[in-house]
């Protein structure tokens, strides 16, 4: 689901991430990861986790198209400075209740054998949970650099997903 809360945060992030790094400069040993959205309804219907590198407006529109299918009256995707930044969408996959949440474990993306490494944690339901199907995700902005891929790793090492950066 991409709704007003998503759009507001996305718009804020598009401002805050601008100027995080010069375009295409070699990445430092670590760089700032800017949370854009942490939500429960991101539209993924498979149970498997997935990471997606979003490098341009067209790709963002595709993601937006998928997410907005659950919201009546959703607004169009905001503008993002893709010259300087890329977006990384990390999706946990479909879960059976509202008890699952993803959180960014560190606001730094460290370099790991040429790839950027982002770490996150996953909350799981403890007791009774709302019986609504969810698809939690994290959407973060990272400065462009010369890393060849991005990997997202859960803090318990249970989930590791990787994508190439064109």
């Amino acid at each position: 689901m991409l709704n007003a809360r998503f759009l507001a945060l996305l718009a804020a992030a598009s401002i805050s991430v601008a100027g995080c790094a010069e375009a295409m400069k070699p990445a430092p040993a670590s760089s700032t990861v800017t949370p854009v959205y942490q939500g429960r309804h991101c539209g993924r219907s498979a149970a498997t986790s997935q990471i997606t590198w979003i490098q341009d407006r067209a790709q963002l529109d595709d993601v937006f198209q998928r997410m907005r299918r659950t919201t009546i009256g959703a607004k169009p995707a905001p503008r993002v400075d893709f010259e300087r930044n890329g977006l990384v969408l990390i999706e946990l996959g479909q879960r059976p209740t509202a008890g699952y949440q993803m959180r960014l474990a560190s606001q730094r993306m460290v370099m790991d054998r040429g790839d950027g490494l982002i770490t996150f944690s996953v909350d799981t339901p403890g007791g009774y949970a709302a019986q609504v199907i969810t698809s939690p995700c994290l959407l973060v902005a990272v400065p462009r650099g010369d890393y060849k891929g991005v990997r997202a790793l859960s803090t318990d090492n249970a989930i590791s997903v990787q994508t190439a950066v064109p």
Binding site: A8, Q38, A46, Q101, P125
Partner: protein, 901 residues
């Protein structure tokens, strides 16, 4: 579960593992191995796939292993049975999967030859209409049966030479996943499907019109002599926008409307009507045929329908219809109500005709995450005695423990967005309804009140807090300071909705629910759970609690829904992975919600899916029943449910583990509670198809209110002859009941025959269309070239694959050298050759059926009889199933067949 015996059940699920009886050994051939204990003996698995009789496959799909039977010319057109569903594929050159047969050359048209009857519908479903940003488009044409390849009048737009006079009908909408044509007269035709852009699987169906769309509903009343017409824009331009000129061009008179919109035309009387008929080419034979086909008795009605039919056949007319009378049906005016498919599905409009919750005050307690008290679509619908029962500040997210503020502060915690789940559930129970144009949705009960009780916070909630809320709602002692819920009389709730759940049976918890039910007469409804298994979720699994499973739009069990012995009833829970109704949104349940915006909360409307969404439909219906009859007890509710008085029974008949006693039917429920339905006549099914083999079927005729049949139920045939007959129930053919409908093919030549069963009552009339085929050659199904996959049951990784074509509608398969272990079997076609079977538009099946795949345990013996059906899913392929078991399960080997992806 509403069973009330004293034997507390075992709270543990029984794994759905089918151990197939071992049979004699044997086998050999292609096989896999792996997925089990590789040190043990190996075995063979054998079975037979069956294609439904009315299925066929395009002769030149993209899959190179499938037989090639080109169908790109009229001379080579592929003959189809009737009715039929055909899976096919088309592509422009250099589009589609890279390894396909026609990827480079393109396969831009498929031609089929059919024999069809008046008002049958040809429907094209474009499976891949939108893939990301890429739009693929196919078009549909109906051409005269005399067409040849050399005849320029048979050229369609796909042949870059549109306008052939033998192109009788076309459906070429852009951006639509479905195209549809109504057969204008009985006869033999060519059906052409061609590609306008890109590449796509498709499903082509030829069947009966199941609604008035395209054809006529002879049972519907309309204004004799009036027709509603929309001319094509070029016609309007040519007439200078003058409605009189446009009307005169078809021999009619303009009464209302104008250019750029629909017009109301009059067919005139006397000489004027005669001239109109002449202008439109309507002959006496036409009128006779129309009268016979539609059952139109009066000349005015017959002439009107004949004019509509003639107008529909004209190239200058976009659409034409009778001017139907519409009668009031209680449909709310909320502007998002058209997106709430889940209400008509359970006959709520009919129920609202009787009861919208206004007769007696009823309160439904929504025990959940709390409710956004300021949501505009809940104003006036919330009681002022809601409560927050979350004790732990670590999860309450509002800085305190129990308090009388049930407002939902969110359950996200930190930067994570909140679900506002209780607001969504509350909106389904009873959002402000029928409140005009403002952004809004409708609720099940328009006048019933909602008591918001908060028990779920960050990470969920505890059974103790939930028990306090249940007691509060029931007016029993609880932990709220001063026990404000205790014995509050009218302040207590009549119905409790619990769209929550978890594992672990608790005797004390069950006792609390039973006490609320038995001691305080509260109907308790709960979500069955979303694990997609038979595991028991609580509180739905407790005695005395109505457990609700979730349905998709097509009344099948949602893939995530819990099932099993504790399920009592099913209701719409939605499936966001599909958009079967083409409204542009996933087929979830639309309701109220919220969105954090950094400075506060936006009040919004969203689609969600889950058994959480199904339960409030039932709770809302229970509230309507209690509004009709405040004395209705939970025992009464359960009794009606078990007697089938509240539900539409979904197959199999009687109670089953998927749907309990069936899908909740709001109209039946309010009647069961004492409401009186307006007089009406109903017949189910709405149409009958006997195919080439069947010779009998049943027709259930029902009368509601004080309606009565005013004429004998009768059967007639459109082509003449007496091949269709009826056996009425006891009491004769003027009585409601189950009629046997019989077909006698003796003496009939090959072809397609149609007829009508006519039912007239003093309330409304119904015509049930009947179709039947006579074929000297046996008609067998063909679900296309099959790839049968053996999957490891635990990892769902493919272990082995066989591929094969049909023989007399069946596919005998065998996996040899299979190691002991647990497996599941799937099969499907890959018409687009993308190496995934079971895509939308492709056939699919699983053992024993797709909706309840079972694990096959292989020990040390061969297994046989692993038979199942492979068919097309007319909704959206089997996308939902693919998502449920993981996409890997549908990946097949490439054509080299040496490795499994």
């Amino acid at each position: 579960m509403i069973r009330l015996d004293n034997s507390f059940h075992c709270a543990f699920a029984t794994a759905l593992v089918l151990t197939v009886a071992a049979c004699s050994s044997g086998g050999g051939g292609d096989g896999g191995g792996g997925g089990g204990d590789s040190t043990s003996t190996i075995a063979s698995l054998r079975g037979v796939l069956t294609a439904p009789q009315s299925t066929d496959v395009d002769g030149d799909v993209n899959e190179v292993l499938a037989p090639l039977l080109p169908n790109q010319t009229f001379a080579a057109a592929q003959s189809l049975p009737n009715p039929v569903t055909v899976g096919g594929f088309l592509n422009r050159p250099f589009t589609g999967a890279p390894l396909g047969r026609s990827t480079t050359s393109g396969d831009e048209r498929d031609l089929y030859r059919v024999t069809a009857t008046l008002n049958q519908v040809v429907r094209l479903t474009i499976a891949d209409e939108q893939i990301g940003a890429v739009t693929n488009d196919l078009e549909l044409y109906l051409l005269d049966g005399s067409c040849t390849d050399a005849d320029p009048d048979c050229a369609t737009a796909c042949a870059k030479n549109p306008g052939g006079t033998l192109v009788l009908e076309s459906s070429t909408q852009n951006g639509n996943a479905a195209e549809q044509i109504t057969v204008p007269a009985s006869g033999t035709y060519f059906v052409e499907v061609c590609v306008a852009a890109g590449a796509s699987n498709y499903l082509l169906t030829l069947g009966q019109s199941l609604s008035a769309a395209g054809g006529f509903d002879p049972g519907a009343d309309f204004v004799p002599g009036e027709v509603i017409v929309r001319f094509r824009s070029d016609t309007e331009t040519a007439a200078g926008g003058d409605r009189s000129i446009m009307a005169a061009s078809v021999g009619l008179q303009a009464k209302a409307g104008g250019a750029g919109r629909t017009m109301l035309l009059d067919i005139g009387e006397g000489e004027q009507r005669r001239l109109a008929m002449q202008t439109l080419g309507i002959t006496e034979q036409t009128l006779t045929r129309v009268a016979r086909a539609t059952g139109a008795g009066a000349a005015d009605e017959r002439d009107t329908l004949a004019v509509v039919e003639a107008l529909r056949a004209r190239p200058d007319v976009l659409h034409a219809d009778p001017n139907y009378y519409r009668y009031p049906l209680a449909v709310p005016s909320d502007n998002s109500y058209p997106l709430q498919w889940h209400y008509p599905l359970i006959n709520l409009p009919q129920a609202w005709d009787i009861e919208t919750g206004q007769t007696n005050p009823v309160t439904v307690a929504v025990i959940d995450t709390g409710v956004l008290l300021n949501h505009p679509d809940l104003q006036g619908k919330l009681t002022n005695n809601g409560y927050d029962f979350i004790r732990f500040t670590s999860i309450s997210n509002d800085g305190d423990g129990i308090d009388p503020d049930p407002d939902d502060p969110g359950d996200g915690g930190g930067n994570v967005q909140s679900s506002f789940h209780g607001t969504h559930v509350a909106g389904t129970v009873g959002a402000r309804s029928n409140d005009g144009d403002a952004p809004s949705v409708a609720g099940v009960t328009w006048a019933g009140m909602i008591m918001p009780l908060r028990v779920l916070g960050v990470g969920g909630g505890t059974s103790y807090d939930i028990m306090q809320a249940v007691a509060y709602a029931a007016g029993q002692p609880n932990d709220a300071p001063g026990n404000p819920g205790q014995d509050q009389g009218a302040a207590r709730a009549d119905v409790i909705n619990l769209s929550l759940g978890g594992g672990g049976f608790s005797a004390s918890e069950e006792a609390a629910y039973l006490s609320a039910r038995n001691d305080r007469d509260v109907i308790v409804v709960a979500a069955a759970g979303n694990d997609g298994t038979s595991n028991i979720s609580y509180p739905a699994g407790y005695n005395g609690v109505v457990s609700v499973s979730a349905l998709r739009l097509n009344k099948t069990l949602a893939p995530y829904s819990q099932f099993g012995s504790t399920v009592d009833v099913a209701a719409p829970g939605g499936d966001l992975s599909q958009d079967a109704n083409g409204d542009g949104f996933g087929d979830g349940v639309a309701s109220t919600s919220g969105a954090e915006n950094g400075n506060g909360i936006d009040f919004i409307y969203v689609f969600e899916n889950g058994t959480s969404m199904a339960a409030p439909h039932v709770a809302g219906v229970a509230a309507l029943m209690r509004s009709v009859n405040p004395a209705l007890t939970p025992s009464d509710f359960d009794g009606h449910l078990m007697n089938g008085a509240l539900t539409e029974d979904l197959a199999p008949a009687g109670r089953d583990d998927n749907f309990g006693y069936g899908m909740i039917d709001a109209a039946k429920a309010v009647v069961a509670a004492g409401g009186v339905l307006p007089p009406s006549l109903a017949a189910n099914p709405g149409s009958l198809n006997f195919g080439t083999v069947n010779s009998s079927a049943t027709l259930d005729v029902q009368l509601f209110g004080n309606a009565a049949l005013v004429a004998p139920v009768s059967a007639s045939t459109n082509e003449g002859g007496a091949w269709l007959s009826l056996l009425p129930p006891a009491g004769g053919n003027t009585m409601p009941g189950v009629y046997q409908v019989l077909v006698d093919r003796s003496g009939l030549g090959e072809g397609v025959y149609s007829g009508t069963i006519t039912l007239d009552s003093d309330a409304n009339d119904i015509s049930v269309p009947v179709i039947m085929q006579v074929s000297n050659a046996p008609v067998v199904g063909n679900s296309g070239h099959q790839f049968v996959l053996l999957l490891d049951a635990e990892t769902l990784a493919p272990v082995a694959q066989v591929d094969l074509g049909p023989s007399n509608g069946q596919y005998a398969f065998e996996f040899s050298d299979v190691s002991p272990g647990d497996y599941v079997i799937l099969s499907g076609s890959d018409n687009d050759s993308d190496l995934n079977i079971c895509d939308a538009g492709e056939s699919c099946g699983g053992y024993p059926d797709l909706d309840s795949l079972q694990t096959i345990t292989v020990a040390d013996s061969d297994l046989v009889g692993l038979d199942f059906l492979v068919s097309y899913d007319l909704v959206v392929g089997n996308q939902a199933l693919a998502e449920r078991i993981g996409r890997e399960g549908f990946r097949r080997r490439d054509t080299a067949g040496k490795s499994v992806d």
